[in-house]
């Protein structure tokens, strides 16, 4: 759906992106993650042609970049950008005209984003959250094949965040490709099927959420006789790490050792486990590990 090839961008002395390449598969909900200043917004700005890359190429829908392709993408970049002196309706009429779509979809997206009652109020009178909702409404205009959202939950209240999360999930289910940049990791974890992690303009990893997190499954175990347990665990082949945790141990194995196999092994060695749990390392833990 979107392919990046060796994108680089420099702002004076700051290297914002350094040879970033990855592919966004069609139908995925793709999270672009990174700490502040890691180049997420720069990346999205380049593929929407509002920023110029110093080097590298990108392709939408397998085609060379062309402005008409952007009409098939609904995007919210960084801030909601609207004519302050106009109402929601008038602003969306302009957006619809540029996207070459009729005005018939405006009511639907305004209702979907909970702005229908304030449709005639000037944009300048909106709260931060309402501005954000209008930007999402504008991105949804005309059911685009791809949605590109940069920090979509900025300024929204908890209910608003949940609504947008549900909306993104629903769109993902319907087959819309969603590309989303965020630093709210639990948001991304809840909705994304794929992630790319950036740090200081460098791509650290990208791929399916399960792949990015796969090797990071962790087992928590404990037994009455923890001393013996520790010996048994330490002697196991493929052990990557072991550490004490809440009166037990957290262990990580090289090649995805299953909980069942571990249980069997311990029992055979004469240790009966009184606690065994498979813990997926949270995206947050993985993220902090990668970016530090």
């Amino acid at each position: 759906m979107l392919s990046l090839h060796q994108l680089s961008k420099r702002y004076g002395p700051v290297q914002a992106l350094k040879g970033v390449s990855f592919d966004v598969p069609a139908g995925s909900v793709f999270g672009v993650l990174g700490p502040n200043g890691s180049g997420k917004t720069t990346l999205l700005g380049i593929v929407m042609d509002v920023l110029k890359a110093d080097a590298g190429t990108y392709a939408w829908f397998g085609q060379q970049p062309h402005h008409s392709l952007r009409r098939r993408i609904g995007a919210l970049l960084e801030t909601p950008n609207f004519y302050h002196y106009y109402s929601a309706i008038r602003n969306l009429q302009i957006a619809a005209a540029i996207k070459q779509r009729g005005h018939d979809d405006i009511e639907r997206v305004l209702k979907l984003c909970g702005l229908w009652e304030r449709k005639d109020s000037k944009f300048s009178t909106y709260s931060l959250g309402m501005k954000q909702r209008l930007a999402i409404a504008s991105a949804l205009l005309g059911n685009p094949e791809v949605l590109l959202l940069d920090e979509p939950t900025n300024g929204l209240d908890p209910a608003g965040i949940a609504e947008i999360r549900e909306l993104i999930r629903e769109l993902g289910r319907q087959g819309t490709t969603v590309i989303m940049a965020s630093h709210l990791l639990d948001e991304v974890e809840k909705v994304c099927t794929h992630v790319a992690i950036l740090k200081k303009g460098v791509l650290l990893t990208s791929g399916h959420v399960d792949e990015v997190l796969a090797s990071e499954d962790m087992l928590e175990v404990s037994a009455v006789d923890n001393a013996t347990l520790e010996k048994v665990l330490s002697a196991m082949a493929g052990l990557r790490s072991i550490r004490r945790h809440n009166g037990g141990f957290q262990v990580v194995f090289e090649n995805g050792f299953s909980a069942e196999a571990l249980n069997k092994h311990c029992f055979e060695q004469g240790v009966t486990l009184n606690y065994l749990a498979l813990r997926r390392k949270s995206l947050e833990a993985r993220f902090i590990e990668l970016t530090n």
Binding site: K52, L77, T79, N81, Y85, S138
Partner: protein, 259 residues
Amino acid sequence: MTELLKIEWLKVKAYRTFWLLSGLFLAIVPLILWSYELILKNSKQIAAFLGAFSFPKAWETSAWIGSAMYPIMGILLIIFLTNENNFRTIRQNIIDGWSRDQYILAKFGVMITMALYMTLVIVASALFFGLRSGQGDPTDGMGMIWLIFVQAMDYLAVALFLGVFMKRAGVAIAIYVMYAYVFEFFISRLIDFKVKAHMGALLPLECTDRMIPGETKLVNELASQGVKPFGQSTLQMIAIGYILLFCFLAYRRLKRSDL
């Protein structure tokens, strides 16, 4: 192009500043011409000598006096351009599917439409006051209409340049107004008298002010110390050169820069 202009129209049709400033221009041009007419009526001899509102001179008089109000429309153009920057709607227009070329083309379209409107207001005023004077034939000297359009485009081109290069409306407007009303007059006279006579006509707005000199022609001739000034067609070429230059610079900026 029509599609682009339709969208530009959507952007302004309910914008109060747009109606206020274009309405002001529409009202103030005939008002200022009327006051000039009233001044002349006080002295029959001067009025007869100048023949300000008899055709073909009525064209030039209206263009000369009316051009003092062109900065109103220049300010409006600056506001349009800086709004797009401040609201970051220039970004949004591109995100929504305009190419950068289309955005720039739309702004050129707005500029030409504004120049046509300015020309129309001046022409209508010239016809009104000229016909009221009852002297001469209106079809006489209609070539001035083209020069009016060129001058309007020139004033707007400077505004376009400032509006694209300056991010803040206030600063851009202040520079524009001060330049149009004070600095250029001062610099051009400095060049005329300290460097070489008539070379002040090489400045961006001054070239069109001397192309349609009105009664400043007398002053210019007296001050020229016997040196021959630029001909009207040369001044026209200078003005067109500036229009193209400013449009090109604005185009290059919008085409290349991060938005």
